[in-house]
């Protein structure tokens, strides 16, 4: 409390000093820039971002994924606006399929948007797991983490809406499944679903509404990104060592060092991204996205939702208490899927270990990687059809067949175990470890790593 007050006072003081300087001498050599800047401080803002704001000097390539996410957001918005131009929301499937071959350049835009959705999630997942590994969610960056998670949830909503407006067999099936979740709300569930769809089933009414939301949400995300950055600039970036910046010996200005580093990362990323766009555009698609009508034979969400889908399907038994069905398996699935999104919000409270970076936490390091493995395996479980629920094989060495270890588990049980660990990681492992694990000695500062 005291500290916050002192900090606020200092801020007030500094602003006074700054306004005094601005009034006295011109900030920039060029008079036009000076004129503009004294009225709208774009240039001093840029100078502050690029030159005056301190960044840790040891950020690794893992820190590229933040700016890459921003670039992906821009790419998606720009291509999305162009894709919306010839879209007939009354008959989206026909409109999209015909525009691909009749509107010049549309096919490239469409492939970028389509493949871009996956790549957006790829960079965001890297960004999130980087934050997990280096403890970027810990104080004073809780708000950065929370706003980031809100962005992630908004992104999933946006991606889902985009998926449904294609109006193919698969996306209509997906829309049915997702809106079906709301029926687990007691008493008013069915009504909520009807209001969401504007009808009893997935009709044009729902598709039009979903299109509007799909168009709107990205701009909400842009707003949240602004808050994400605002919170970040207030507290400064985390770094691979997880120790605070202590003085000018620890810092470097963003421009030109990180500008060029981000550009290099962007260029490498775009090379891979464009390779996928031009040569493997259908890799992450599903065949039933190219059919209309009928029921999909195999409902499977986009890969970035698979871990949640696996958690949803893990529950096959009703929760029975004294002979009464307390919660049906479907309700359990939906509740735990929701919890999977909610639990990460509590990370800053659950993990109170003084070391931010997992580098200095020899025991937690293993649990972190176990968590990564569990997430990937959950994704794989989500991918299986109901029919392929059978034994799970984990080959110890994939090239040698006879080294196969056969797990005596069917996919549902396996999924349930993985779901169990997913939650145990947050609720048990992190609090216990944060209490009992003794981190290795932290370096005194970024400039002086520990001598060993």
């Amino acid at each position: 409390m005291k500290m916050a007050r002192r900090r606020a006072l200092k801020l007030v003081k500094r602003r006074k000093v700054k306004t005094k300087i601005m009034a006295k001498e011109p900030k920039f050599q060029n008079s036009t820039i000076n004129y503009l800047d004294s009225r709208i401080p774009i240039f001093s803002g840029l100078r502050w971002l690029g030159k005056e704001h301190p960044y840790p000097k040891n950020l690794s390539y893992w820190w590229n994924f933040g700016s890459l996410s921003g670039v992906m957001l821009l790419i998606m918005i720009i291509t999305g606006i162009f894709l919306a131009m010839p879209l007939d929301t009354g008959d989206t499937y026909r409109s999209i399929r015909e525009s691909v071959d009749t509107v010049p350049g549309y096919h490239v835009m469409q492939k970028i948007h389509m493949v871009g959705a996956s790549f957006f999630f790829i960079v965001v997942y890297f960004h999130i797991f980087r934050g997990l590994y280096y403890g970027s969610y810990k104080g004073p960056r809780e708000f950065v983490w929370w706003i980031g998670l809100i962005i992630y949830v908004l992104m999933m909503g946006t991606a889902f809406m985009g998926y449904t407006i294609v109006n193919s067999t698969l996306s209509v099936g997906g829309a049915k499944v997702i809106t079906d979740f709301f029926t687990v709300i007691p008493f008013i569930g069915e009504d909520v679903r009807a209001w969401l769809l504007g009808s009893n089933g997935v009709t044009d009414v729902a598709i039009k509404r979903f299109f509007v939301i799909h168009f709107l949400l990205p701009f909400v995300i842009v707003g949240m990104v602004m808050f994400h950055l605002l919170a970040l600039f207030q507290v400064g970036s985390n770094n691979p060592l997880g120790v605070d910046m202590k003085g000018p010996e620890d810092t470097i200005s963003f421009h030109p060092y990180y500008t060029v580093k981000d550009l290099f990362g962007l260029s490498v990323f775009l090379t891979i991204f464009m390779f996928a766009v031009f040569f493997l555009p259908f890799l992450l698609g599903e065949p039933e996205g190219y059919e209309t009508g009928g029921e999909p034979t195999h409902i499977v969400p986009e890969w970035y939702f698979l871990h949640l889908f696996a958690i949803l399907r893990s529950f096959t038994q009703d929760l029975v208490l004294f002979g009464n069905v307390l919660l049906t398996s479907k309700e359990l699935g939906v509740i735990f899927m929701g919890l999977a999104l909610v639990v990460p919000f509590f990370l800053p409270i659950l993990d109170r270990n003084p070391a931010r970076s997992t580098k200095f936490r020899p025991i937690y390091r293993w649990f972190f990687w176990l968590f990564v493995l569990v997430c990937i395996l959950l994704g794989q479980v989500g991918m299986q059809t109901a029919a392929s629920y059978s034994e799970v094989y984990i080959p110890a060495f994939s090239l040698v067949d006879w080294w196969t270890i056969r797990l005596p588990l069917d996919t549902v049980t396996f999924g349930l175990l993985l779901t169990g660990y997913f939650f145990a990681h947050f609720i048990i492992v992190l609090p216990v470890l944060s209490r009992f694990e003794k981190p290795r000695q932290l370096p005194a500062s970024i400039a002086q790593p520990v001598m060993r």
Partner: protein
Amino acid sequence: MFKNLITAAAILIVASATSWSEGEKATPKEPDHPWHFSGLTGQHDISQVQRGFQVFWAKCAACHGMEFRRFWHLEKIGYTEGEVKSMIAEYLRGRGETFDTSTYSIQNMPVSRVSGAPDLSHAVLANGKTMEQGANYIYSLLLGYDRVNDAVLGPALRVETNESSDSFKEMGEPITATFESGETKSVTRKFEKNNFYLYGEDNNWVLRNFVDIRTDFQEYDAEGNALPLVQSISHRLDETDSEYDGKYASAQDGYSALVNADNAWAHRAEAHYHEIASWAAGQFYNPFKAGGVISMASPLVDLENFHRTDFTAEELAQDASALENATYWLVANQDLQPRILDLVPSLQDAYNAIPEGETASSYRPFYDAAEPVRQLLLQMQPETKDAISEDVVAWLAFSSDMNLNARKETGLWVVIILSILSILLYFFYREIARQEFAKQAKEGGPWDENH
């Protein structure tokens, strides 16, 4: 850092090597076929696509539609605007409509005419995770009828007659068939191109076209369900119906032969018994279709004309399908194309000049005009069913992804330029890092004491 990379790699290996066993009986995996468009630099072969379109337009379009494709897209596969316009006019005339040429750019291809026949606009994408998989699937499906009919008819009969299957002989080995007349013959069995044959010792077939027996004698109950084939045939054989007179001989022979013979193929077909039992009229067996039953008859059965190159002058003059097929060969045999196209106008003139009362083959001037065309056609390579199927699938693949050629060409440059840019930026980054860290060591970075 290094340790983490190793851990991450290990995790990826374990995760990607984890496999799930299939819970249900899988449909046979269609074999890989080398497609022109597959691979990083693969492109649609436009002349193959055009051949495929001709087959599509002549055969597939009778039932299947392509409602998400416009007619003018055909300009991309070598047709001129005039040709496409006359094609639209002809198509609309068939439906009793007239073609307003101002609507040319928005004329879509027809919708499916038979309910249940899927639209083929994106057939290749709709049938596989990748274009190659989808193409392999359709290709296998088209040829799948022939490959497996030898495994079909056996079990229904075998089960119906409670035949012991302990001893059986392979197809092609001679067996003794007892016919209903009491006569016994040593015959060999063979399945070929949808037909079941029993060959006598003199190498003449005693029975042919067993598949036809199915369609000719199939009976239905009051609700329209197909009765078991053996039952249907026996009913018919008991009746005296002049309509079937001509077919009795072969049906009787085939029935008796099958009842008495031990069926080698019955064993291979065991697994498919349920599908066969549930067959309704107009359903066919195709192992590549999930469930093994397909409602589409083999589209290649009546394509025999495509195997012909020996047209008579009569056919050249009068048979539209012969000429249609001739144009098909023209695309397939590009070297002979200009020479034949040169001769076609004089052939048409000669045809128009045939006087009343004369026929094409008897009228000498026409015969003389037709002979060089006939000779050139004889030199042409007939297409096999495999090649026709490949062409059709090439057209379907083109329809699914029309921009593939342009996209891959552009993509190659985009990726090359971006790779070079990445390398340049890497060295630029190294240099900037060197300079900036030298400066940082001397002066320190930005720092706000108040922060």
